[in-house]
């Protein structure tokens, strides 16, 4: 196994060695369940349609505001603070292996969470309940959007974690940055011209809208992948910086 995967596996397992993974998974599901079925105006029962749009609308918001900051905050920050980074890096691993390993480990947990929500359509529309005929297309594209979103948001979280050695600062910064990315679409509605365009361009929410409706736009795909790559490259540079600082 390559060092990158070994690091990723260790990272992923360590979430489950601490209560973190269990707390995050349980609370996210509780929250998502309440919101999905009971949110005033958009709740599943009120909409009275066989659709998962509510899920695709709220899941990324919840992910970006709480789950991803919690998962990514410790990635590099904790290693720096406790000094284990020195131990890890002086093993024969490339800096890029460290960053990618950490990224894949965290992404593993985020995607576990994302894929676990597949239970919703399965239970509601296939077995044991059949609440109507589900249109599969938007569900599949919705999941594609959710995965792309997770790629980008986790990379941003990793980047911020590699810039500081305090977990709490990493948490709040990630929370803030991802919040801005998410809500900038809403802010754009209240602002004029160019500013609105810029905000709309960077808004994760506006980018997700197409996927929710079953539209896979290459611009959105490229946007999410670009954010991922840029964030990972900067995180890599931030790790390399230790050599010269």
């Amino acid at each position: 196994m390559s060092p990158m995967l070994t690091i990723a596996r260790r990272e992923f397992r360590s979430y489950f060695d601490s209560p973190l993974a269990y707390v995050v998974i349980c609370l996210s599901f509780l929250g998502l369940g309440l919101i999905f079925f009971l949110w005033p105006g958009r709740g599943f029962w009120q909409q009275d349609r066989a659709t998962l749009q509510t899920l695709f609308y709220f899941a990324p918001a919840g992910l970006s505001i709480l789950v991803i900051p919690v998962i990514t905050m410790r990635l590099m920050a904790e290693e720096r603070r406790s000094g284990t980074l020195e131990m890890l890096i002086t093993l024969p691993v490339k800096d890029s292996d460290v960053i990618m390993g950490k990224y894949l480990g965290a992404l593993g947990l985020v995607l576990t969470l994302v894929f676990a929500t597949i239970l919703y359509p399965l239970f509601m529309f296939k077995f044991p309940w059949v609440l109507g005929t589900l249109d599969d297309g938007p569900v599949l594209s919705g999941y594609l959007g959710l995965i792309l979103f997770s790629l980008a948001a986790t990379a941003v979280g990793l980047l911020i974690s590699s810039l500081t050695d305090s977990q709490s600062i990493a948490f709040f910064l990630t929370f803030f940055v991802l919040g801005v990315f998410w809500f900038s679409g809403i802010m754009a509605d209240y602002l004029p011209g160019t500013v609105a365009n810029v905000l709309n361009f960077m808004s994760f929410e506006s980018r997700m809208e197409g996927f929710m409706r079953g539209l896979i736009d290459t611009r959105d795909v490229v946007f999410f992948l670009s954010v991922t790559c840029v964030a990972l490259v900067i995180a890599f540079r931030a790790l390399e910086r230790r050599k010269w600082a």
Binding site: M1, P3, T6, I7, R10, S14, D17, S18, S82, G83, T84, E86, M87, I89, T90, L91, P92, V93, K94, R242, K243, W244, A245
Partner: protein, 410 residues
């Protein structure tokens, strides 16, 4: 290049912002050598080791480990070394076995080799009892052992150990030292420590660094000889004197000793007896015993003890690095504050704790001596150094003869 030289540092310098952590350090370590890397906290030991393990890069200079350049082949360098960083930072949420397995996997050890090495490491580091415990629940001593274990798991030709015996109890320390001696037979070991007794026991050669510079490098005997001074311990009875005579006061004795020709320094040592105990130092080729005896007789004092001692490594170390110590005690304290080593200063002082006060006295006197020689006033010196960080290195050096050789005018 010759395969005999395992570690070669040439002209390593490292700056952290305005702080110069290393200043043109060069040394070679040959195959099978066990080299002690000595120096006060903040002298640059850890920085050097981090450069050799490719954790950080030098600002200037280059280094080769096992023939690989730290810039060009960092992965090959890391493959050939086992490294134990200071205070053994480990993942606290893993068990010891998981951790060792993780290290072995990253290092591409196959299962058979891992099993074999694990057995060896368990025996060497005494990990059998804790193998399945979480590292977070272990005491510091055990963590240190696990850290040593992970450095040995792939049986590397070169071991770089940053304070491997810190936080261990005396039995464990002896055990680790015994082991280092053992592996030193066919491995190359570079270890840093504050504990000079360990160096004397385990290493044939020592490199002493101070303020980022090498102040001594060579076999222990050579280093001892280098400072070239001899110490005398003299004890004078403070209560009894010959009939009709008053017993002497400490100051009287001290002043008398200072007047002896060839005395470099005199300092009072603590003693439980009702006596004055002094330590004198002189140049190596001189022998003051006769003069001391005659002085005592002529004053009608009662001599309880007179002993001539060769310079201990401890004293050599203090001599060579004293300007650092003075820096730590508050002179020109700004500028070096942010160093990573500062937290565990207590350990360094442990061994000398009972002599500490006396040390201070000595330092003060020496300063006075030197100041009068140099015609330089301490206060103005510290002001100067506050005004200019870069120059303070040089100012402090001026009064240390041994360092003059290593000094370079900028």
């Amino acid at each position: 290049m010759s395969t005999d030289v395992m570690i070669e540092a040439s002209g390593l310098s490292k700056r952290f912002g305005r702080v110069r952590a290393l200043d043109k350090i060069s040394f070679k370590v040959k195959k099978g050598e066990v080299v002690g890397f000595l120096g006060p906290n903040g002298a640059g030991k850890s920085t050097t080791m981090r450069i050799l393990t490719c954790f950080i890069s030098p600002t200037v200079g280059s280094a080769k480990v096992h023939g690989y350049d730290v810039f060009d082949d960092p992965l090959d360098v890391r493959k050939s070394i086992g490294y134990l960083p200071q205070r053994a930072p480990l993942y606290t949420d893993m068990s010891v076995e998981e951790y060792l397995r993780f290290t072995a996997q990253v290092r591409h050890l196959d299962e058979n080799r891992y099993k074999k090495q694990l057995g060896k490491v368990i025996e060497i580091c005494g990990l059998a009892q804790v193998l399945n415990k979480d590292i977070g629940t272990l005491s510091h001593g055990y963590r240190q052992r696990v850290g040593l274990g992970q450095a040995l798991i792939h049986d590397p030709p070169i071991l770089i150990l940053d304070e491997p015996t810190a936080d261990l109890d005396p039995n464990e320390k002896a055990e680790v030292i015994r082991y280092i001696k053992e592996i030193g037979k066919d491995h190359t070991v570079l270890l840093s420590t504050h504990n000079l007794a360990e160096v004397e026991e385990a290493c044939a050669r020592a490199i002493i660094v101070s303020k980022g510079r090498i102040v001594a490098d060579g076999p222990l005997d050579e280093i001892r000889a280098k400072t070239g001074s001899v110490r005398y311990v003299v004890t004078i009875d403070e209560q009894h004197a010959e009939a009709g005579q008053k017993p002497p006061t400490a100051t009287a004795v001290q002043e008398a000793f200072q007047r002896i020709e060839g005395t470099k320094s005199v300092r009072e040592l603590p003693t439980d007896e009702n006596a004055h105990k002094f330590e004198l130092s002189s140049a190596e080729d001189a022998d003051l015993r006769a003069q001391i005896f005659r002085l005592v007789v002529s004053n009608n004092w009662t001599l309880l003890e007179l002993e001539r001692k060769a310079q201990s490594l401890d004293a050599v170390f203090r001599d060579l690095t004293r300007s650092d110590e003075r820096l730590d005690r508050g002179e020109a304290w700004q500028g070096r504050g942010a160093d990573e080593d500062e937290a565990d200063e207590d350990e360094a002082d442990e061994d000398e704790a009972d002599e500490d006060e006396a040390d201070e006295d000595e330092a003060d006197e020496d300063e006075a001596d030197r100041d009068s020689e140099a015609g330089d006033d301490d206060k103005s010196k510290s002001q100067k150094s506050k005004a200019d960080d870069d120059d303070d290195d040089d100012d402090d050096d001026d009064d240390d003869d041994d360092r003059k050789a290593n000094k370079e005018k900028r």
